[in-house]
């Protein structure tokens, strides 16, 4: 078992990116296998559809008298059923593990491997999507098909746009949550930040109440935040409720917020890791 001499540095950066890309297929496959091991988590995914369904029942009983704002009964059905599906496609769960790894030193093992630790979490996040789509997609599609009324814009162009916006939403969620998770370098309260983020997002993203039904002032305010971009934007696009200029604005806003979030993560990482290296764990 002789050791081959290590080829001395080519351009370190290019080599790193190439190696990272080459590692991804394996990362995705292994985390896909891991996803299948967590059967309770899968059950929770399915049950978490309950919140929109309860909201839907409330709105439907109110909409019996006639449409509320621009929403009639059919719109509500389409909105909440699609919300369940899109939420599964964009929901991210990384803060808890990141927090634990940083605080207990589990991060060390990853730091010693030639791949940035973020990629394990990103691969894990991406790898769970197909199964979630497979489990939640068909019942939602069936319900939409059986219930007359909901209008979705299912033209190929729109489906493509919605997919792109949903993927961007997923990345936004991931990088914002990663930034929150990185606060564990400084505080033991990272999980508390997560709860704040989660609560504001539930309201600000249109998950609980469609943003279009909120007071105009609040809608204006939310337009300056990333929250509508992680759910409401692709959701309303799927319902065919967005004019073309709003669609363009949405994509631009997603791009800008993603740039911001990635920059934030890079900055927090640099500062945090310096601290980690000073104190150890």
């Amino acid at each position: 078992m002789e050791i081959p001499p290590y080829p001395t540095r080519m351009s370190e950066g290019v080599a790193a990116i190439r190696a990272t890309l080459r590692a991804y297929p394996t990362l995705l496959r292994i985390y896909w296998a891991r996803t299948l091991e967590y059967r309770v988590q899968i059950l929770i995914w399915i049950l978490s559809g309950a919140v929109p369904l309860v909201m839907l029942a409330v709105w439907l009983s109110m909409a019996r008298e006639g449409p509320i704002g621009s929403f009639d009964a059919g719109t509500f059905v389409g909105y909440y059923l699609a919300a369940i599906f899109l939420r599964r496609m964009t929901g991210v769960w990384i803060i808890w593990e990141l927090n634990r790894d940083i605080r207990t030193g589990g991060l060390s093992a990853r730091l010693l491997r030639p791949l940035h630790p973020l990629h394990y979490d990103l691969a894990r996040t991406l790898a769970s999507r197909p199964l979630q789509a497979l489990l939640v997609g068909p019942p939602i599609a069936l319900a939409l098909y059986l219930y007359p009324g909901p209008q979705l814009d299912l033209t190929p162009l729109n489906l493509l746009r919605v997919s792109a916006a949903t993927f961007m939403a997923l990345l936004l969620e991931f990088f914002f949550q990663y930034a929150i998770g990185l606060t564990a370098f400084w505080t033991s309260q990272a999980v508390a930040f997560h709860e704040v983020w989660f609560f504001i997002k539930a309201l600000g993203s249109g998950y609980v109440i469609p943003l279009a039904l909120m007071p105009e002032g609040i809608q204006q305010l939310l337009r300056w935040t990333p929250f509508p971009l992680v759910l409401s934007f692709p959701l309303e696009m799927l319902l065919g409720r967005l004019p073309p200029d709003r669609i363009a604005q949405g994509f631009i806003a997603q791009g800008l917020w993603l740039t911001f979030a990635v920059t934030l993560v890079a900055m927090l990482w640099r500062l945090g890791i310096r601290r980690y290296e000073a104190f150890g764990a």
């Binding site: 050791i3 370190e12 590692a23 292994i30 000073a278």
Partner: protein, 354 residues
């Protein structure tokens, strides 16, 4: 090029500490008191390629801190460190690809999947070519006897089986330098021996450099000719394990078996009798006079078998630490806090550089 070079390494931590109880917590909330912990102080040593070196010291002596600095996980406060010519803290890919750090207490295996999945993950992460990966894996399976374990879920493996898989996972990329922190902790004697044999064999086959810490002196005695003894952040001794034994334990053990049982009074003129069990006895004799006393025993008594042994390594190490503690009795009295104390004085110099 040397495998490891350490020049005047220092590592200090600042920690805040808090009095126990409610009031203590409240006070700490408003005004934190900080204290400097000197985990490593002015440590220098070098390791040549292919050496196996044992790193000895009680808990909190600074062993793990030093290993983490060498692996690039911690920044030194002062001093210079080179591993294979790299500055570890930069964690360049070329560096990470050539080292490994195994911590017996921490694991990298994916808990819910079979170990082979972690191996494949490492193959991808380290970019190990397929043929090379297969070859290394087969070798590791043979050396560590992993047959049948690789496809079992990690959480269903026993501690020893898991440790073997951890070692394999850490060696798939064929590192040239191994930092092993308590690789046999918590394992039973058979498994400890097995891991030991493996480390020796890996070193023999690959010429890799190994720096290992262990609480089990048997590990160190079996693997390492050279030891570094660290205590309260200071390097007390760097050199041959046998020379260390000679220096701190100026005696040897003579074991005799006699043709018939003899009374204590017949043996005690030859040395301090440690044990006497009908016709077997153990004597402690001055190191310099060992041969002379052995000869005298053979002529004076009906001896059928005689063996001269070094004192057990535990004894040697215990003496090193005991002597180290003597140079400042006040600090020695507060033994549990030792790693946090400031240290001055001549003590370490007495052993350093030996």
């Amino acid at each position: 090029m040397r495998a490891v070079e350490v020049h005047h390494l220092h590592k200090y931590y600042t920690v805040h500490h808090k009095a126990p109880g409610l009031m203590g917590s409240l006070r700490a909330f408003f005004r934190r008191r900080y204290r400097v912990i000197r985990a490593v102080e002015d440590v220098s040593f070098a390791i040549e390629p292919g050496e196996i070196v044992g790193f000895l010291g009680p808990n909190g002596a600074g062993k793990t801190t030093t290993l983490k600095i060498l692996a690039g996980l911690l920044h030194p406060t002062a001093g210079e460190v080179r591993v294979l010519g790299f500055i570890p803290q930069r964690r360049e890919r070329a560096f990470l690809r050539q080292i490994t750090l195994v911590m017996g207490q921490k694991q990298q295996l994916l808990w819910d999947l079979p170990a082979i999945e972690t191996f494949l993950l490492n193959q991808a992460v380290y970019g190990i070519p397929k043929a090379e990966f297969q070859r290394t894996l087969e070798e590791l399976v043979e050396l560590l006897d992993l047959e049948g374990l690789l496809t079992k879920q990690v959480r269903k493996l026993s501690l020893g089986e898991r440790m073997k898989c951890e070692l394999a996972a850490a060696l798939l990329h064929r590192p040239r330098v191994l930092f092993l922190d308590e690789p046999t902790i918590g394992l039973d004697v058979t498994m400890q021996a097995r891991i030991r044999d493996f480390i020796r064999e890996y070193n023999r086959r690959t010429g890799a450099t190994v720096l290992l810490t262990s609480h089990y002196m048997a590990d160190v005695a079996a693997l390492c000719r050279r030891v570094l003894v660290i205590h309260r952040g200071h390097l007390l001794y760097d050199g041959d394990l046998e020379a260390l034994a000679e220096r701190v334990t100026p005696y040897r053990i003579v074991r005799v078996t006699m043709a018939q049982p003899l009374p204590l009074s017949a043996l005690s003129p030859f040395g301090e009798v440690l044990s006497l069990n009908s016709h077997r006895a153990e004597l402690r004799v001055p190191r310099a006079r060992t041969a002379e006393i052995a000869a005298a025993l053979l002529t004076a008594l009906p001896v059928t078998d005689l063996a001269i042994e070094e004192p057990p390594v535990e004894e040697v190490i215990r003496r090193v630490f005991a002597e180290a503690a003597e140079w400042d009795p006040e600090q020695a009295a507060r033994w549990p806090e030792l790693e946090e104390e400031e240290e001055e004085g001549e003590g370490p110099a007495a052993y350093a550089g030996g």
